[in-house]
Amino acid sequence: MQRIGVFVCWCGSNIAGTVDVQAVSDALKNEPGVVFSTNYQYMCSQAGQDIIKQAIAEHKLTGIVVCSCSPRMHEATFRKTAAAAGLNPYMVEIANIREQCSWVHKDMPIGTEKAIILGKAAVAKVNLNTPLTPGETPVTKRALVIGGGIAGIQTALDIADAGFPVDIVEKKPTIGGKMAQLDKTFPTLDCAACILTPKMVDVAQNDKIRIFSYSEVTDVKGFVGNFDVTIKKHARYVKEDVCTGCGLCTEKCPQKKVPNEFNLGMDNRRAIYIPFAQAVPKVATIDPNYCTMLKTGKCGVCSKVCTAGAIDYKQKDEFIEEKYGAIVVATGYNPISMDKFDEFAYSQSKDVITSLEFERLTNAAGPTAGKLLRPSDGKHPHTIVFVQCVGSRCDSCAQKGKEYCSKICCMYTAKHAMLTRDKYPDTDVYVFYIDVRTPGKNFDEFYRRAVEEYDVHYVKGMVGKVTPEGDKLKVQASDLLTNKQMHIDADLVVLAAAIEPDKSARPLATMLTASMDTNDFFTEAHPKLRPVESPTAGVFLSGTCQGPKDIPETVSQAGAAASKVIGLLAKDKLTGNPCVAHSDEWMCNGCSSCERVCPYGAITYEDKEFRMPDRTTAIRRIAVVNPAVCQGCGACTVACPSGAMDLRGFASSQIMAEVDAICK
């Protein structure tokens, strides 16, 4: 039996004005377990707290009930008071007789009656309280960043800057991501390479940062502060630490017909290659799908020309296991496939391209050395049609495209149109739009410049059909403002393809038990207040893996994610919330119902040996809750069919006792 003390607060006249506090403390005195009951003007004041401490000592109290304001106000205060007097802080319950009683009821007898009932419910609960101790876990002071685009780079740099070691895992042979493929960046039009490549060099030179390029995460175990991650380093058949990046092999390799993915297949590279001049790490990689040596055992040119002796045809995939305290997901995006939108003739004509292809076409390091030339015949295009929202903002019933707005297309299309008109004033540029969406600092001004200064023809309407005929692309479109169907003979059509999360995100989310929305974007812990954290503790989100974003937004989110990681890694130990779920191993039948409803992946199963009657033993599958991961929502407690799962601090028996006390 508990020895409970009840402390009724007047809160000046806030409570005492409508509630007869004396009557309340008198009534509660007779409740089971209550050995002491009093009231005082301001319980939260130093004097009030002293009354509590004194009573705990004098009456050897094992639990206390404070009838006062909302627990959201002073629960923490009274828990500290109890702890100071040597009582477990979780033996304190608050009866909210101010916000939920005295302030909403006017009539003294009614208020008093309700306050007594609320007090009784709190007493009934404390009778079943047990002392709780928050668990502590150590923190591995190293972060993992998955994805080496601008988001991953910025996050890694910021974390390293705070003094913590960071590893970047990038599946491509170089970091840099999509931004490395871009030409100019809106709205300032500085060149992407000029602002990105110095950051890539910073990453390479930072002794806190390790880059695992051409690698991927294959397994994640553990929880916040203590992740065990397996990284698979693909064989690149070149010794990374020996290769000097001189590039001789990439010039001498006889296999010249490999589509160059960095230029989106618009030109070719060799079977041994460095994706682009500023690649980090600047190390060659052999493409095993095209290398004659690896396929037939005959060739070996690269090995012969390499003076450093870096080529190793026998290299194998390597698995690295590492511990991390925090994981940042920065897996980025890709433009969607244009397969389902062939009314725009993407598959039928080389001169129908996506906007990312257009970036490469205008990039000085691209396949045309920055000259805007048609992919089909290398001629200069005079009429260019840009189509917005290709695959964005689609209804789900249409079963093609994405429901969301891809967000970046309006701005990059304005940029493309403006740059084209600037460099080639002899071109006619049309932009077909549904809505022009340019919120952002200096964004709408930028779009207006395209229209007003550069005379880009913005047409409100959509393209319905592109018909390649001869060397022209016949574009049939609607102009909704003049209510006309337009027919344009274009030389180049550029499609603003919707963007979607990288395909690697879904399996990664499963490994991390991080949740995703139906579009495979990672879900944030709270859409407004915790935008860079995943609901899974210790997993953070950076960049477009969380939703479409432009570069400025990505960089700020990357910094925010880094600061959250730093906040976590700065701690030596993590103190948990002790009000977490726990499973009674004798009652659990291992049905997995709880695991399925847990949003945090806090529940795992283990086979445990049990002593059974007649000196036998049995192996039974039982649920185990990881208290460091559990957030204490209680979803599992209701899902559990056998009643094995319960929540500390809000046990079923405690809530039932409250119900009973109220309904008496």
């Binding site: 397969d339 389902k340 939108f341 062939d342 009314e343 003739a345 598959s347 039928q348 079963q399 059909k465 592109v466 018909t467 390649p468 005929e469 001869g470």
Partner: protein
């Protein structure tokens, strides 16, 4: 094997070639087209209005007749196929519509879209197989550059028709390859020829057909094939000198059964 066959009104009259060669070729390929008894005209166009019941009964009767024999139902004419397939889809998916139709016909023996509906091209692709056809070709149409003209009705609405990718189809191109000719891909192959509006507005049909023919010609086509008598009419009427043939005619030619009928 045997399948139920719905020829449709035009194939009994203006498009006899489409019908005769369809039967002959199928026979060579081991499929007998068994004509449904007392079939009625499908109406030529499907009404998307959900309260149009009577105009769809003819299609349901044909579907039901095939169902009673447990055969799939095959049509050659694109329009008939479109109407019957859409009607069948409505019988499967619109419970209210199906109930009204069944009440109208024979509620005790309800039909709920069980019949498998094939267009002749689908029969070739999915049942017989283009590889089998390739093996049976005796007169490969070597060197002929043939442009497939799909029109609207074979492909759309794509969620119902489910024949092929509505914007980048290849079933007819695969067919053309199978009979040894060279398919020509051009963008307007799935655009409308003007359809029945040709009666009231021949100018519209001319504009549409001319554009299609020009586009096919620019892509290097010597000939156009189609499965639809109305498309063929519009293309021929407005064409310059581009031959427009039925798919079955070419198939019969490749399989070596065309001369027989002429003789």
């Amino acid at each position: 094997m045997k399948v139920s066959y719905f020829p449709g009104c035009t194939l009994k009259n203006k498009a006899i070639d489409l019908d005769i060669y369809a039967r002959k070729s199928a026979e060579v390929l081991g499929v007998t087209l068994e004509e449904i008894e007392e079939w009625q005209c499908c109406g030529g166009v499907f009404s998307t209005a959900r309260d149009e019941i009577a105009t769809k009964l003819a299609s349901v009767r044909a579907l039901k007749a095939a169902h009673e024999k447990n055969y799939p139902l095959v049509t050659v004419c694109s329009a008939c196929h479109n109407v019957i397939k859409q009607t069948n889809h409505a019988m499967q998916n619109d419970a209210e519509f199906a109930q009204k139709v069944n009440n109208y016909m024979a509620p005790e023996d309800a039909y709920n879209g069980e019949t498998q509906v094939y267009h002749y091209l689908e029969l070739l692709r999915d049942v017989i197989g283009f590889d089998t056809i390739k093996g049976k070709v005796v007169n490969p149409l070597k060197g002929q550059k043939i442009a497939a003209y799909y029109g609207c009705l074979l492909l759309r609405p794509s969620s119902t028709m489910q024949m092929d990718d509505p914007e980048n189809p290849h079933i007819m191109e695969d067919f053309i390859s199978a009979i040894g000719a060279q398919p020509v891909i051009y963008a307007l192959r799935n655009e409308c020829c003007g359809g029945y509006v040709t009666m009231e507005s021949p100018e519209l049909a001319k504009k549409k057909s001319d554009a299609i023919l020009e586009n096919a010609k620019a892509a290097g086509a010597d000939m156009i094939v189609t499965a639809c008598p109305l498309c063929r009419y519009n293309l021929l009427k407005n064409g310059t000198d581009m031959p427009v043939l039925y798919i079955t005619e070419l198939l019969a030619q490749a399989l070596g059964v065309k001369e027989d009928t002429n003789g």
